[in-house]
Symmetry: C2
């Protein structure tokens, strides 16, 4: 691989380079498929046809190349050299970050979004993104600068859903002002929440605010909530993993949107 | 640290040594507290008073020592040398594994258990244990020999709840025979499940059977299920993380057991 290209890809592993350029690197079949299906703009594709077996991904490589995306076919070893994952999947791409400004978010319909301040583990943040997307949330807000959804480990754990969600970066102040001006409910999740999550009713636009893994929601984050729910715990362990808690609350809020299939697909 | 003691602790990182001896090593404040509160039998404690700040954990060290558990106070560096975690917490212990035989499991009351065959990620398995315990499931069954709850990374991710749950090891054949003989419902979770998880009713003893992260439930595992539920997915991501899926299904089954507090504890 041309050393300038390899260098530019490697530099994007650092967050400041991602922020400076507005680009990120995605790697692997699932993230590549999600990016292509969601029409994320790609600056470059690097791939190897022996490693990349997935037919849909191969078809996207061909069609993106036809559309003019610089596409580099490299030897398996050269690919592995660039790859950050345990098993080289045969495709990576430099892509443009897509952010939606706070003011442009739809607050008219009964939208459901997730907001995070600082999630410490990339695996947890990726799981939160994946869960939000799968269950039908519209987007994820990043309040403050602590967490970056375009970190490679987050993208992997998100299964590529980082490409499907409306992502918004905001400050705590702007977030609180926006929610008040637009009548958005901010629902905190905390073991100390005053209301049981099973009583949560999904009316109006809602943002579910998730706390840090170790200390939960800070006092000032709590103060920005219009209400705070808890998931009842009966065991000796006094809390849930933040991704699991997000899943339970989002399922509660969003399941009404899922069609009730008269009969499921056949088992196989 | 005496090299024989250090060696015996290090050897327990390997699964075959854990199985041969029926012992395991737990490290850190949360696992140590859970083990002591659950009266897990300890063979040995190694600790350092500068590193271990938690007052309840320090009190347990003293009381276990009084009760005759060999207790070794070591220098911070010696402790770090033995430690497997990023930040040495100041306490580790050699403990006895506790397993409950399949035949001894209570199937009279409406018990809820989780069963796993092969969960690939230690983080996911630990999260499943933590979630099961926090939401009030009685125990976890390990069908076949693929997963070990006493692996250090699993214990850490479980926050120590591995000590609180009834754990059972069984074969697929014995599991299926037992469930039929005792009238235990085995509820599989799969994107192809025929019934919506929100229609799951918690009558009778139930085991929730979780599939592997990549391929889900195998055909033969599916065949052992008395029913199979799906969590409705509306996004482009076609599945949930196994720990999140477990959380949603267990919350659905177990939340009726949680008392509805008239008003929660005060926010703080």
């Amino acid at each position: 691989v041309d050393s300038a290209i390899a260098g530019s890809i490697r530099r994007l592993r650092a967050r400041d380079e991602r922020e400076r350029t507005g680009r990120f690197v995605l790697e692997g079949v699932a993230p590549f498929l999600h990016a292509c299906r969601a029409s994320v703009a790609l600056d470059r594709i690097v791939w190897n046809r022996l490693l990349l077996r997935n037919p849909e991904a191969r078809a996207f490589v061909r069609s993106r190349k036809r559309e003019g995306v610089p596409t580099l076919h490299v030897a398996p070893d050269a690919f592995r050299d660039l790859s950050e994952t345990a098993r080289a999947s045969g495709v990576l791409a430099v892509a443009r970050q897509r952010w939606t400004a706070l003011e442009r978010l739809d607050t008219v319909r009964g939208t459901v979004r997730v907001a995070v301040e600082r999630i410490r583990s990339a695996g947890n943040l990726g799981t939160i993104l994946r869960t939000a997307e799968a269950l039908g949330a519209e987007g994820v807000l990043f309040v403050g600068g602590a967490s970056d959804p375009f970190e490679p480990a987050v993208i992997r754990a998100s299964m590529g859903t980082v490409c499907d969600l409306e992502l918004t970066r905001t400050s705590r102040y702007a977030f609180t002002s926006w929610s008040r001006a637009r009548g958005v409910r901010i629902v905190g999740t905390s073991p100390r929440g005053e209301r049981d999550a099973r009583d949560l009713v999904s009316t109006g636009p809602i943002v579910v605010l998730l706390g840090d893994e170790r200390v939960g929601l800070s006092a000032s984050a709590m103060a920005s909530c219009t209400e705070c729910v808890r998931i009842p715990i009966v065991g000796r362990c006094d809390s849930l993993n933040v991704g699991v808690a997000a899943g339970i609350v989002l399922h509660q809020l969003l399941v009404r949107r899922a069609p009730r299939a008269a009969s499921g697909q056949p088992r196989s």
